[in-house]
Structure formats: C-alpha cells, structure tokens
Symmetry: C2
Subunit: 289 residues, 2 copies
C-alpha cells in the first residue's frame, strides 16, 4: 500500500565468514541482486558483513580492512547500486590510514553518500577499532533523511534521539547482535525491543539487519526486523539461525507526519529541553519537522 513517500526496504540476513572477504562479497552481491529483483529501493546488510566479526588480532583486522572508496567490496557494492538504481547500507571493516573503524557505508545510484563509524564499541572491539569520530550524520537521499546506527549504538537512547532531532525519517541498523542474559521465552529479543521503542518515541522507521551463525565460539541471534514509525514490526523478526530476506513497504511521509499525536502533543517537540539542561537537553540541534 503506497503512501506519499513509500519505499521498499529489504534486510538481507546472512552468515558472513571471518576472513573470507571474497566469499562474503559474492554472497552480499547475490543477496543485493535478489533484493533488487524483488523491488527493493533500499537494502540493508549486517555489521562487518564484508570481513566477519570475531577478530583475533590487530594484524588480522588490518588484513581484512578496506577503504571507502577504493576497497574491492566497496567498489563492487557501488557498481551494483549504480547498475540496479538502489540504495544500500552495509557494514564493513574500514581502514583510514593506520586507524580501523567498525563502519557502515551508505551508497546510492550515484556512488558513496557517506560513511558512518560506530560510536559505541562493544567489548573486544575496543582492541581493534577506534571509536567513531563523525558524530551521528544524516545522509540525504531522494526518499528522505537516513540515519545509521550499528549494534551497541542502539543501547544508547541519545543516539536515536540525536538522529530524530536531526530529522531522520529512517534509521538503518547493520548489526551483529549477541545473546543477552535472561532472555525469557515468548518475548522478542531485547535488541528488537530497543528498535521498537526507539521507533515509537522518535516516529521514524527502523530497519535492522543482523547476521546469523556462530563464529569462533560467539553465537549471533538473527531476528532482523523492520518496524514502522509507530514502533511495531512490519517485517520480521526473522529466524534466529537461518538466512532470511525480509522486506516492507514503509511510508516515510507517514513517519514525518506521525510525530503529531494530538492537539497538544508532538512526541519529539514535547521534550522538556529546559529541564534536560546541559546534560541531555538544550536546543542546539534544530528540531526539524
């Protein structure tokens, strides 16, 4: 059901293999092509899907890294996005001189739009990666404003909120979610709930693409999902352990309009920035419509 600004978003959940860069590239290209065949306007791939996740040494990390532009996977993605006329958000191990970042590249039909570098590093990532140094950028596309967070970033409500305050219509989340303690039966994964509540209180779409499989003993939990601006899933959660292609038509105009809840309440503008003060507050970043 097409709205004023509908696009078809697809998350391609798969199992990258640590160190098998050429194989990961081929897999990703196959999945992107398949998504495009099925009508995708925007394809999201997992975190570090070009390299694999569980790195054992800095030497190994450097051996797997690519630059953007220039890296072979990045260039292949650029070529395919141009060929198919689609947008793509995909995680890769980025080298910038002698620094490494856990990054996601945002590519359109005309090439790289920008790169996001993960700001909140998880556990042993701190041994290999530098923390992101490009803040929380908005990437402008013909269909609207796009933000990116990677995995553990999603545990920080500030990260989602900054994207909302900068006007994000959709937040893409390449991720490699690991199991959380005490997950009960019958409830979604906490990682899924974080996407749902963030979408709800910020009125934007969230498209989170996870990986599956166990790598060097570390299991990942799949369950990729797409939630609309009300916070409820419109595709997924996908399987915990199988590859999956999930897709949804999402209306970014509805997300942008949807912040207005009644005569008095606009969910983002209702922020009491006068109270959040120097800590979580003021109006330094414009509250865009």
């Amino acid at each position: 059901m097409a709205g004023e600004a509908s696009i078809r978003v697809t998350c391609a959940q798969f199992e990258p293999r640590i160190g098998e860069v050429a194989r990961n590239r081929e897999t990703s290209l196959t999945l992107i092509s398949q998504a495009a065949d099925e009508g995708a306007d925007l394809v999201v791939l997992p975190e570090l899907c070009q390299s694999g996740y569980v790195i054992e040494s800095r030497k190994e990390a450097f051996s797997l890294a690519e630059t953007a532009p220039g890296g072979p996977t990045i260039e292949a993605w650029i070529g395919l996005a141009r060929e198919r006329g689609i947008h793509l958000v995909a995680g890769f191990l980025e080298r910038d001189e002698d620094r490494l970042f856990n990054s996601a590249v945002v590519i359109g039909p005309d090439g790289i739009i920008g790169t996001y570098r993960k700001n909140h590093l998880w556990d042993a990532e701190a041994l290999f990666f530098e923390r992101g140094n490009r803040n929380f950028p908005i990437f402008h596309t013909p269909f609207g404003r796009l933000g990116v967070l990677i995995c553990y970033d999603g545990w920080f409500p500030e990260a989602w909120r900054l994207l909302a305050l900068a006007g994000a219509d959709i937040v893409c989340v390449p991720t490699n979610w690991v199991p959380m303690p005490k997950q009960p039966q019958g409830l979604p994964a906490m990682a899924n709930l974080l996407c749902m509540t963030a979408a709800h209180v910020n009125s934007f779409v969230v498209a989170a693409c996870d990986r599956i499989g166990t790598e060097r003993g570390q299991p990942f939990i799949g369950q990729s999902l797409i939630v609309d601006h009300t916070g409820w899933p419109v595709a997924g959660p996908a399987s915990m352990d199988q590859p999956a292609m999930i897709s949804a038509e999402v209306d970014l105009a509805a997300a942008r309009r949807g912040r207005n809840w009644n005569s008095f309440n606009q969910i983002v503008r209702d922020r009491r920035s006068d109270l959040y003060g120097e800590t979580l507050g003021s109006a330094a970043i414009p509250d865009l419509q």
Copy 2:
C-alpha cells in the same frame, strides 16, 4: 531469593473513580494494608489515584486537589506508612496555591520524603495542570535511590537517563496508560516495552502501577508490571481490566552492580557524552556509581 539489598515491591492496580475522593482514599488504604500484610516494603499506586483522571473543567480540578502535606488523602497515607513501616509512591492531584500539578508523593515511615510533579503532560492535562517545575529528583531511602516518572514521562528516554545519571536504583511509575494505536496481538503493550528497555539500558528496576476501567469514555489498559535491572518482567504484566496486586523481590544492589557488563562496557558510562554535546551530552550531572 534475597540479595544484598533486596526489597519487596508491590504495585496495587485498581480503578479510581473520578471525583470520588473519599472512596478512592478508602480503596487505596485497604490495598496498602493488604500489601503490607503480604510483606511489601514499597507500595506503588496509580497516577491521580486520589482524584480520578478524566477531569472536565478547571473548577472540577480545583475541587479535587489536595496539598502535600495537609490534604486528607496525603495525611491518611502518611499515617498508614508510619503505622506499617513502609514506603509508598502514589499519584495525586496537587494544589500549590493557584497552580495544579499531576504529582506523586513519596512517603516513608517518617513522613513525606518529597513530591514529584509530572514534567511531560499528556493531551488535555495541559488544560488543567502546570508542567512539573522540580526537575527529576532522586528520593533517598534506606534501601537506595528512588526516582519517579508519571505515565507520558516514560516516552522520553531523557527522563529515564537523567534518573540513571543521578544514580537511581529503582524508578516508580504511577501511571494511567491509555491504548496506543496499532497494538498487535501477541506483543506486550508499548508502555510495557518502554519500561523494559529503559530498565535494560539504565540498569535500574522499574515498578509501574497502572489503573484499570473506563472513565467518561476513556479506557485505561492496566498491565502494571515490575521489571528488574536486566529489563525483563519479574511481576506482571497484570490484567488489562481487573484489579491486581503484583509483587516482586528486587535486589537494588544487583541493579547497581549490574551496569558493568564486561571488561570494556559499563552501560551508562559508555555514553559518548563528547558526541551528544550540548544537546544530549555533557557531564554536568555526575555519573554516580
């Protein structure tokens, strides 16, 4: 299973009646006594449970208001908390000279500890109430640091976060949750999810006490719940439409210790306050252990 700093928390979900202040008082006293009989250390009651919620005019609002201290319901609560040696967090319609607030009083065995005034007003509340003017206080108790949010406050991640940064071990949420659009079958209410994700990313306990019933055409959704610092329910969600007393033993020391997740990550200290900047950032409020 008692931990280092365990307390028994009880949420008494019931149906206040608009305008029937004496009746609401009697109901609340009965429920508090019952909770104390069953071993409660801390009892949480719903938002505006002394007055009812759906107010029709400013005149009616003023007629239902009480002062704290001094109001008959407040004084009855103080007396019972003293008699039973318990703590109590309860919503009431507060008058302060010619201003009204949607407030919650925090009472201990020695009397009033403080009052929280709802900072984020929902819909027609804006016609009767002033916005809270006491920030997000921490109330100190022998069992730990207690914060309070009321209903729509919970839609603002900043509110939860400020309490975490001020060291809250438990957040009590007197509430009158109304239905949210598009609630799917088989998933918890979004209001419940907001409590769960907030507890998880801040590592504190959340005890949310809702009302039930339909008042002047406005339905409320019940589903009171208590979640531990990992974000998962330990009591509730309660019924959508029946009175309910839900209780859990929660370990506030575990919540305080629980912020440390691995060698590198402490979930609150991992905030990139350097990036959140003037908007959601800096370290003006001390990050207490």
